[in-house]
Symmetry: C2
Subunit: 277 residues, 2 copies
């Protein structure tokens, strides 16, 4: 069997890499790239390559910029992973918590640990592009007065110490990641499909759109209206439903939706991750 490889944003030890390994198993390997667009472009260039993107977080909400990438490029969602995100304060083995003068991490991680950070005095907060990358930076520069906020695995990878465990504001901080590929898949069980559409704006427009699912007893797992920049009173609707574009019921619903929508893109059908919702 060919070893699976997947692209992810960040450095080794990133949550995206952890999510990819959870999906494919420990034998897969992750290739770090600089940003989310690089993940998509790398996937488009290569056969049998996968990419992993965070798409929503229970604290922060939907990551619109990654939805934008799914609209812009022709990639398919082929899987999903729900990951409980636990953040830790990590520093070199010589460091003590009382000696920490600066904390660095990705803005999302800093936002998830606001309560912890607020209580600190005389500690500077600096942002970086990556949680695990912050641990790597502290290691490479031999800094003893600086700590990173990052994953347990990143502490192990770079031989660092966890000064304080679980500093995130809530213990139910879950990020939903999606796997993307340039080839769609045909999921066998727990099927789920993600779509984006737009409608003409009139009272009851969304109700009519949802009827195509309700009349066929299709269960929705996500709905969100997002105002379209530059287009007053127009919205993208993000919708996930249980079913696959290979089922006749879902095909009929989507054909029906096509009739009444002004734009419809099917992002992919894949197996739902039923763990840790």
């Amino acid at each position: 069997m060919v070893t699976k490889k997947f692209y992810f944003q960040g450095e080794h030890g990133a949550f995206s890499e952890e999510a990819g390994l959870k999906f494919f198993g420990k034998k897969a390997f992750g290739i770090p790239v600089k940003d989310f667009e690089d993940v998509v472009i790398s996937v488009l260039k290569e056969r049998n390559a996968y990419g992993i993107l965070p798409i929503e977080n229970s604290t922060i909400g939907s990551i619109h910029s990654n939805y934008d990438l799914l609209l812009k490029f022709n990639v398919f969602i082929v899987g999903e992973v729900n990951l409980i995100v636990k953040q830790h304060l990590i520093a070199s083995k010589k460091s003590k918590i009382s000696g920490i003068k600066k904390i660095i991490s990705h803005p999302a991680a800093l936002q998830q640990c606001q309560n912890f950070i607020k209580k600190l005095k005389n500690v500077k907060i600096e942002i970086s592009y990556d949680t695990a990358g912050s641990v790597k930076l502290i290691k490479e520069n031999g800094l003893n007065d600086t700590a990173a906020i990052s994953s347990e695995i990143s502490a192990k990878i770079y031989g660092m110490k966890i000064l304080k465990k679980n500093i995130q504001d809530t213990n139910t901080n879950i990020t939903r990641f999606i796997l993307i590929s340039n080839k769609s898949v045909k999921p066998k069980k727990n099927t789920k499909t993600s779509i984006v559409f737009t409608l003409r704006n009139f009272p009851g427009a969304l109700f009519r759109a949802l009827s195509v699912f309700a009349l066929r007893d299709i269960d929705l797992t996500k709905i969100e209206s997002r105002p379209i920049p530059d287009k007053p009173f127009e919205y993208y609707f993000y919708l996930d439903f249980r079913g696959s574009i290979h089922d006749i019921k879902s095909i009929n619903a989507l054909n029906n939706l096509q009739e009444i929508s002004t734009f419809l893109k099917i992002l992919g059908s894949y197996e739902e991750d039923l763990n840790q919702k």
Copy 2:
């Protein structure tokens, strides 16, 4: 006429203060407090006091933590303001762009200017709790090698220079702010109502909920499902519709929704801001 006062998070010159002044007019005055919860608590303690909170941004999406405050405390939404957010690179009058070694700002502002920041070399990025507060800090400490990302008005207030205008990634970066009070209002025109509700989870549940609006030709302006932490497969639905809790049509719709929902909170009826949507 009594001068209106409102609480906002941050320092003078913050976007929240700008939004408050846009709503009440130049003669109102804003009182800065430390965080969003302080805004709500200040409003609860005082008669005739208002507070202002950002609730969604066109780039970042809904601000769940502020929705959580609306669920936790008994305050009412009494108005809304859409503000086009323009970010500028601001430093002391002596500074030159080539001499800037560090940039400080709020994580949301840094996120909105990612493209600009990514192109910089050898510049450190540090987070603070406030955009305008970063300008104030640079001023107070007489720093010449540090710049802030903040509003035009904050540069004026603290007598600072704009090194580069409009560094935000998109020119349609709009934040929607809400005005809160401990007394509800009865809006006269362009009425809009915000609610949060939960449903039993079965196929067609949301469709049934939306029927209470569609059957009465009530227009929706926002719908979003948010997974409830700790409760698998349960969602909060955020919904805004055109109409007021003083109209018989809206009252009927909400009574109808009450019958089929497991939880319903009316956040308030207020006048819609039709500008800059």
